[in-house]
Symmetry: C3
Subunit: 142 residues, 3 copies
């Protein structure tokens, strides 16, 4: 199968961790044809990031948000403050969490564990829409 590459825009979200597994999968109908492969998800921003975490209890994303706010606090003596107090901690969180995820594809679906989901980590209060580049490739069953 040829490589698939597609850019999608996620709806603007408030600061926090937001499950987007469904949006990512919905953008890739070709996933169903891949027997063995990989999906790369990349966010083209430096104040938001991506992670895989527990997809069931809504208290988990709330605790992730609180934990990362403690690890990269707003009240640190940053020099880069021209874009507001949530900008530089957003950059620190973006490097802690990362701009990309690679997910194995197996028999036409993402090979995530039962409790794993893909999160958009929005680190700004008003981050706006976020752009993802999805790259999918692998072997078809045929």
């Amino acid at each position: 199968m040829p490589w698939i590459q597609r850019t999608i825009e996620l709806a603007a979200q408030p600061r926090g961790f937001h499950l987007v597994t469904r949006e990512v999968v919905a953008a890739l109908p070709e996933l169903a044809q891949i027997e063995i492969g990989l999906l790369h998800v990349f966010i083209q921003h430096t104040s938001a990031s991506l992670t895989i975490n527990e997809n069931a209890d809504p208290e988990v994303p709330a605790d992730l948000e609180a934990s990362f706010a403690a690890i990269a606090p707003e009240n640190f003596p940053y020099r880069h403050t021209c874009e507001g107090p949530d900008d530089m901690p957003a950059h620190v969180k973006a490097s802690l969490l990362g701009a990309g995820l690679m997910i194995p594809v197996q028999q036409g679906a993402l090979a995530l564990g039962t409790w794993q989901g893909v999160y958009l980590c929005e680190h700004r209060r008003r981050g706006g829409r976020r752009r993802l580049v999805l790259t999918l490739w692998g072997e078809t069953a045929g």
Copy 2:
């Protein structure tokens, strides 16, 4: 060469950082045939993770465990506490470290630096066996 994808289960480990390079390589005899390629290692859990770090001095994994326990402490005011005091910090550490690693393959072997090894990071006291999805692809010499 066709893509290789294989699921392996790692033996249950106590909380801490455990070298598993040998287990990963042993599961992939096809590695020897790949001239240029990549290996993706993915853990299907959200309270354990994977990292690459120093493979020689056993004090390094002990210090990594202590450091990550300080960065994501158990005594933080988490809401998600129903699965025990080590569960939510485990999720934070899983996002800090990540669920996947990509390693270059060169002339039939992993192209790790001399001091690099693959670690299973077990964040629970009793995490049980952990499942890895290994995906290998590349060019053969022929």
Copy 3:
């Protein structure tokens, strides 16, 4: 197109975050021929790492350095101290940031966002030259 794999050495840098996007791209003239693909950048060391972050304001890398020095401080009670006070925090930072980056390739160029750049994160005072393994593959336009 065949896979491209190339090892490059980055010049020695002082401790801190250093933009290396230009060095990475310059080592891969074949990038221009790839219509859809991926570039993997891997550092073969455990006391330096790679990240993607804001490429414009020089205060951002200064703040990243200060932030990671606070998250993984030198004055933590490490056991592994034989290689100097900046060695064990370097290993912690290497695991927080990661040894590898995957970047989508689109129409002959890296599909980075406008403000994204590739950083070498040098965690030692005298880390010396650092070795990167670049692996590039994808589809040509033809």
